[in-house]
């Protein structure tokens, strides 16, 4: 009995749907998108709480996945493969937006986060992203996945296409930099990173 994946579809069902997609079936791809878009949206949400960014990154992930379908290997879980694409889309988003949209709302360095009326509250996520946006893109991506998604470092390394040793070095440097950012912005310096 094949084990179900995170979204209830078994690996065999994923493989059948992907084969149908590779033959050109857009209906099969619709099914994959509808099944996995909540999981992908949850990952990219760690990088931006703005709805437009969320929709763009989710859409971009699935468009790239469509074009990369011939390269999917059935031995790897489909969701894991999709997440790798999502992480790369998010990394590009970080490179394009070196500062979070909330940076312009910060008044003279005081951490005054103003929620936009009518938007769903995600104050802590916005605050975390605002702080992390001060890091270089690759460090931001790594710490976002480590602290907000609680992804194991080995999985992060795999998604970012780097070795585990390299990921550990980046994580060390990123934590040191984050500590300085937190200190300079008035956060408690005692927090373990």
């Amino acid at each position: 009995m094949p084990e179900p994946s995170e979204n209830g579809l078994s690996q065999d069902e994923d493989e059948q749907l992907v084969r149908a997609c590779q033959s050109g079936s857009l209906d099969a791809y619709d099914r994959l998108v509808m099944k996995y878009q909540p999981a992908i949206a949850a990952v990219v949400f760690r990088f931006s709480t703005q709805r437009a960014d969320l929709e763009d990154m989710t859409q971009e992930t699935f468009i790239r996945a469509w074009h990369a379908l011939p390269r999917w290997e059935p031995r790897k879980p489909f969701l894991h493969w999709l997440k790798r694409i999502a992480v790369n889309v998010a990394l590009e988003h970080c490179r394009k937006h070196r500062r979070s949209p909330l940076s312009r709302l910060v008044d003279n360095g005081h951490e005054t986060i103003q929620l936009i009326p009518g938007e769903a509250p995600a104050a802590a996520s916005e605050e975390a992203q605002h702080i992390l946006s001060r890091l270089p893109p690759d460090q931001r991506t790594l710490l976002t996945l480590l602290h907000l998604e609680q992804m194991p470092l080995a999985e992060i390394a795999d998604h970012m296409g780097i070795s585990l040793a390299n990921a550990k070095i980046k994580a060390f440097r990123a934590r040191n930099r984050l500590r300085k950012i937190l200190n300079s912005h008035g956060y408690s310096a005692d927090t373990p990173l």
Binding site: E55, Q59, A123, S188
Partner: protein, 106 residues
């Protein structure tokens, strides 16, 4: 100028990230938008193929024209060369005739 001290926050990074992890994204449904983009991409690909066919036809015509032009140039060059060598051949023929006449006289 006195710089204002950075206000200390009671929040720790651990508290912020713990709260952030409990927050969920809004529900979105991108499957129609994804499908439209894929279909549009496929349609563009088909249009590109037919555009490429037209462009290839023009390129072939130009290539053929270049071959024709090169052939005409070669024929013109040979004709010019031939035109210039005719007097030389005539002179050589006259010399040979005179030589034969002299030998016959001997």
């Amino acid at each position: 100028m006195d710089t204002q001290p950075t206000p200390r926050s009671s929040r720790t990074w651990e508290e912020i990230t713990t709260r952030a992890r409990s927050e969920s994204p809004p529900e979105i449904d991108m499957h129609l938008a994804v499908r439209r983009r894929i279909e549009s991409g496929l349609a563009n690909k088909r249009a590109e193929v037919s555009r490429e066919g037209t462009l290839e036809g023009i390129a072939e015509w130009l290539t053929g024209f270049r071959v024709f032009a090169a052939s005409c140039a070669a024929v013109a060059a040979l004709t010019l060369l031939g035109w210039q060598t005719v007097p030389v051949i005539r002179d050589v023929a006259i010399v040979l005739q005179l030589e034969n006449a002299l030998l016959a006289g001997l």
